[in-house]
């Protein structure tokens, strides 16, 4: 058998991964070092975290959230995890197991919330009851519960595992619509403001492929299977389009998003209406909102009033519609 020809750029040992955007190959050790360096660079450039922060990581059981938790702990940060059981059939059961074993094997503290048990609904039912796409009802629920857990738990910052591909795909969508409001808010750090914790995205300089590789090299078991409710969403189509461009032009995704942050975001600063809007408080839960009831309470109310919907039902409906 012919051995791999490519050698690590740093030590000349056999490489385990090729990174065309860096025009180089890396062995396991130097690949991990590159990932750590990229995270440190993002943290420092955008003033994301300090070693005194009490960090809460939003954990899904997938590669990105487990990788960001692993990297932060590895870099010496103090970080707990929060897992939300969304009630999306087997997907939720299995993803919860991955999150729990990751935490227990490393002696880390994982907080868990079960949507059905604690709030009386799940995502498939919420999607059906609100007649919205599942990811929209899901996003509303998760954002609210992550914010609340961070504030209630006395955490100074909430970390999410959004990577370069996630951010480039969102940017692509916002740009296709020239949505200035969303573009002006698409930043890797959102400062704490009344009723919202500080939120940061330390993985913005790393791709999905690099994060999956981080997990494989570090021996992190994560849920490889896709959330069944993501099938056919626009976000995936944008990612596929960007990866087609990346294959022709290495580094295109990174320059699209990172140069947006450097060159365009400053021009849009202060253009966001939402950031300056006066916020009231939700009459039911006290969260900040522009209306009487916050989006979470409205979703929860409708979903609780609806009989439970199994995930398969929402899926088949979604497929027929496409």
């Amino acid at each position: 058998m012919v051995a791999s020809a490519s050698k690590c750029r740093v030590c000349k040992e056999p490489a385990i991964i090729d990174l065309p955007r860096h025009n180089a190959n890396f062995c396991a050790e130097h690949f991990l070092e590159l990932c750590r360096r990229q995270v440190v660079k993002a943290i420092e450039k955008f003033d994301m975290l300090s070693k005194d922060d009490n960090i809460l990581v939003a954990v899904s059981g997938g590669k990105d959230s487990l990788a960001v938790w692993d990297i932060l702990v590895d870099l010496g940060y103090q970080a707990d995890g929060l897992y939300i059981g969304l009630g999306i059939g087997d997907y939720s059961d299995v993803s919860g197991e991955y999150a729990k074993s990751f935490a227990s094997e490393r002696g880390l503290n994982l907080i868990t919330i079960d949507l059905r048990a604690e709030y009386g609904y799940d995502i498939p039912t919420a999607a059906k009851a609100t007649r919205r796409v599942p990811c929209s009802a899901c996003g509303t629920s998760k954002r609210h519960l992550f914010d609340k857990a961070a504030l209630d738990g006395g955490y100074t910052v909430l970390v999410t595992g959004h990577n370069l591909d996630d951010e480039a795909a969102v940017l692509f969508g916002n740009t296709l619509r020239w949505d200035v409001e969303y573009l002006s808010r698409q930043l890797p750090v959102l400062p704490a403001r009344n009723g919202f914790p500080k939120k940061v995205k330390p993985l913005i300089r790393l791709t999905e492929r690099e994060m999956a590789a981080w997990c494989i090299v570090r021996g992190i078991d994560y849920l490889v299977d896709e959330c069944p409710m993501a099938v056919g969403n626009k976000h995936l189509a944008y990612k596929a389009a960007l990866n087609a461009i990346e294959q022709q032009s290495s580094g295109a995704k990174a320059s699209f998003y990172l140069n947006f942050l450097d060159n365009m975001a400053p021009l849009l600063a202060g253009r966001s209406a939402a950031a300056t809007d006066e916020l009231g408080t939700c009459t039911s839960c006290g969260a900040p909102t522009t209306s009487d009831l916050c989006a979470f309470c409205r979703t929860a109310e409708k979903a609780r009033a609806h009989e439970p919907v199994p995930v398969e039902l929402v899926l088949s409906r979604g497929r027929r519609r496409r």
């Binding site: 058998m1 012919v2 051995a3 791999s4 020809a5 490519s6 490489a15 385990i16 991964i17 090729d18 065309p20 190959n25 396991a28 899904s60 997938g62 590669k63 990105d64 990811c135 899901c138 996003g139 998760k142 591909d165 791709t207 999905e208 492929r209 994060m211 999956a212 590789a213 494989i216 090299v217 490889v224 299977d225 896709e226 959330c227 409710m229 993501a230 099938v231 969403n233 976000h235 995936l236 990612k239 596929a240 990866n243 087609a244 990346e246 294959q247």
Partner: protein
């Protein structure tokens, strides 16, 4: 070689030897969206895969969240 594919989980027989990149191209799988694991270890795009290798092609793209 035996090739394990995911989402949905399935197996396919592909004749070797073939480089990792040639395998991905033959199956029309974008390189940026996949990693290849041979006998449990990650391998780069120019690694040569032999007929008796057990290979997993792992998709790395995840959806909405």
């Amino acid at each position: 070689m035996k090739v394990l594919l995911r989402n949905p989980r399935r197996e396919q027989d592909v004749t070797g030897p073939k480089s990792v990149n040639a395998l991905l191209d033959a199956l029309e799988l974008p390189r940026e969206a996949h990693l290849v694991i041979r006998n449990g270890t990650l391998v780069p795009g120019d690694a040569a895969l032999a007929d008796d290798d057990v290979v997993e092609i792992r998709p790395v793209i995840s959806g909405g969240c």
